[in-house]
Symmetry: C2
Subunit: 151 residues, 2 copies
DNA sequence: ATCCAATATAAAATACGTACAAATTTAAAC
DNA sequence: GTTTAAATTTGTACGTATTTTATATTGGAT
């Protein structure tokens, strides 16, 4: 996603184009594979933009979610983690280190499927799959950290 | 799950059988359909056991998870919510009220399936599907609460 | 009945996120 | 380029969820 596209989106929604917003989006993009938390983004942005406030990072991430520029990937270890990939994909969450990795998987059913048990319960907007397990890195450690990070 | 079964499990792990533990598990069972949070369990237990401490509820829920008696259903609205149903099933999360409902769905693939993109990434223990949408109750309201509760 | 490790308790500490008011900045009109 | 109003950023205080700490209590083996 180029910045010009973001700028266009912001203009369309009467939102202002600020250096903070551009820099924060760039940071989420750069750290895409980490599925970064607000705190991680804050640290990353501060390097280039030392005056940035953590409150701005939180609010900007929320704004970016609301205009559909990024989305919440997962909540892991109590922290909300973000994702710039908007197409359907899923996540693999390591129970030991808390790391999140993308899972590519065709599951068209999730978008349109209506399990019988949902009948009368409501309307599905989206379905996501979360795989829990141990990542390769933690598997190879003798003493991985306690699996307390996630469920 | 009968209490005698819990007592047996606790004994096997050299964990003590305390009235708090029994009462807290009963409360989670009784509120199963709510997928209750620690706070909700605390309120429920306090009615029968006024001296109970919130810290005990937190620690006991964690213990019950670790011995495999309950599991984390979902984290919604910043709160961890628990589940006594250990068999495979999935959840429907209302983005408006934050309510969680069970979804019965055969997806054997999730347990055993290894998407190609996972190759070399690690070992899957479990796969769960989370459906996001609007529940029937919120659909029928003219002005549902803001959909800020979840992602 | 006694004893010790495990547990429960209350209170304080921590962690994540949000709300607020004051200062700054954007962008549009002139 | 200035002016100006509205939006945004910032620092900080606050709120809520959860964990830790220090002490008191208790389960259950002997």
């Amino acid at each position: 996603m180029k910045m010009s596209v973001l700028e266009e989106k912001l203009r369309q929604k009467n939102l202002k184009i600020t250096p903070q917003r551009l820099e924060i989006l760039r940071a989420v993009q750069r750290h895409q594979c980490d599925h970064p938390s607000a705190e991680l983004i804050y640290q990353a942005v501060k390097k280039r933009y030392p005056a940035v406030s953590l409150a701005t990072v939180y609010k900007t991430l929320e704004t970016l979610v609301q205009i559909g520029e990024i989305r919440v990937a997962i909540v892991s270890g109590g922290k909300t983690r973000y994702d710039t990939r908007m197409e359907q994909h899923h996540h693999f969450l390591c129970s030991y280190c808390g790391g999140v990795q993308d899972i590519e998987m065709k599951m068209d059913c999730l978008e349109t499927y209506c399990p019988e048990s949902l009948a009368g319960k409501g309307t599905i907007h989206r379905g996501e799959v979360i795989f829990h397990g141990i990542c390769h890195t933690c598997e190879n450690k003798k003493n991985p950290p306690c699996p307390s990070i996630c469920s």
